[in-house]
Amino acid sequence: MTVKVGDELPTFTRETGFANWNRYAAVNDEFVPIHMDDAAGEAAGNGGAFGMGNLQWAYLHNMLRSWVGENGEILSIEVQFRSPNVKGQTVTAKGVVTAVDGDVISLDVWTEQQEGTKLAPGSAKVKMGK
C-alpha cells in the first residue's frame, strides 16, 4: 500500500456509556467516582459521569493497530483530553496522514463525538507492517 499525505485512516467507532467504562475500569482498576457515578461527575463539573481518557487513548491505538497491521508499529502518540466523553455519545477515532518520511508516517489523530466535536486531539508516528 502506498501511503500519501492526506490519506484518511479507517475509523474506529463505539457507542459509549457505563457498559464500556465499567469493562475498562475492571481491567485498569480505574474505579474513579467521576467515571462510575453521575452525582460525582456532576459535582466535578461535567453534568454526569464521563468516560476515561485512557479508554479514548485505547480507541486511538485500536484504530492505529488496525491500519498498520499486525507487523506494523506504533512508534509514538500524544493526545490531549479536551472534552469529556459523556454517556450516550458515539465516539469515533480518526486519523489523517500529515507526512511520510521513509517508512515513518506522521499522523494527526483524534477522537470526536457524533456531532464532530473533538474530544481528544493529538498526533502519532507509525510504521506500516511489511
Binding site: 469493562r23 475498562y24 481518557g53 509514538s76 500524544e78 483530553f81 507492517g129
Partner: protein, 176 residues
C-alpha cells in the same frame, strides 16, 4: 480561592524520581481481558486472544496492546525511592504524587487525565516482567472553566526483564 496550589516543596521536587514498581509476569488472561474490554462489544483481534494465531505473527507469541497496563490491580513490588515518601491505599487519591515525595499535597478534590505523550519501544508479551521508574515533572496552573486548575506531569519509563525500553510516558494530571 488559593492564589496558588504549587508550594515551594512541590517546586523543589520537580525532576525527582519517586517510585519504582515491578509487575507480576504478564499472563495470557491479563492480555485477553484487556483486549476484550477495549474492543467491546466487538471481538478483540485473535493476536491478543489466541496464542496459536499470535505465534504466526512477527512477534511469535501473544503480545499485549501497546497501551496495556501490567500495574493496574497490583504489582510484585512498589518501592518508594525517597525517605519520608508514603503510599496511599487509594490509588486514585489526587495527592498521591506528593505523598510519594513525602510532602503535603495541594488537597484538591477532583482530578482529570489531561493528556499523554508516549514513545514506544519493544512490545510487552506473555511472561514479561515490567519495571516502571516514575518521576515528577513540572507543575503549572491556570484559570479554567472550573476554577484554578493545577497541571502536573508524571514521567514514567518502563523496561522489561531484559532491560529493553518498553515505553516512556509523560502524563498530565489536572487537579481542581
Amino acid at each position: 480561592m488559593a492564589d496558588s496550589n504549587i508550594s515551594e516543596a512541590m517546586k523543589a521536587a520537580v525532576g525527582t524520581e519517586t517510585s519504582r514498581s515491578t509487575s507480576y509476569p504478564i499472563s495470557e488472561s491479563d492480555i485477553r481481558k484487556w483486549a476484550m474490554a477495549v474492543y467491546w462489544p466487538e471481538k478483540a483481534p485473535a493476536v491478543f486472544t489466541d496464542p496459536a494465531a499470535a505465534s504466526k505473527t512477527v512477534h511469535g507469541r501473544l503480545v499485549a496492546p501497546e497501551e496495556f497496563n501490567p500495574f493496574a490491580w497490583s504489582a510484585a513490588s512498589n518501592e518508594l525511592l525517597l525517605k519520608g515518601g508514603a503510599s496511599s491505599r487509594d490509588g486514585n487519591n489526587p495527592d498521591n504524587s506528593e505523598l510519594a515525595l513525602g510532602i503535603p499535597g495541594p488537597g484538591l478534590k477532583f482530578m482529570l487525565n489531561g493528556g499523554m505523550i508516549c514513545e514506544y519501544g519493544v512490545r510487552m508479551g506473555v511472561g514479561d516482567v515490567i519495571t516502571s521508574t516514575n518521576s515528577i515533572g513540572e507543575y503549572s496552573e491556570r484559570e479554567g472553566r472550573l476554577g484554578l486548575m493545577l497541571f502536573s506531569r508524571g514521567v514514567s519509563t518502563w523496561v522489561n526483564q531484559n532491560g529493553e525500553m518498553v515505553k516512556r510516558t509523560s502524563s498530565t494530571l489536572i487537579r481542581y
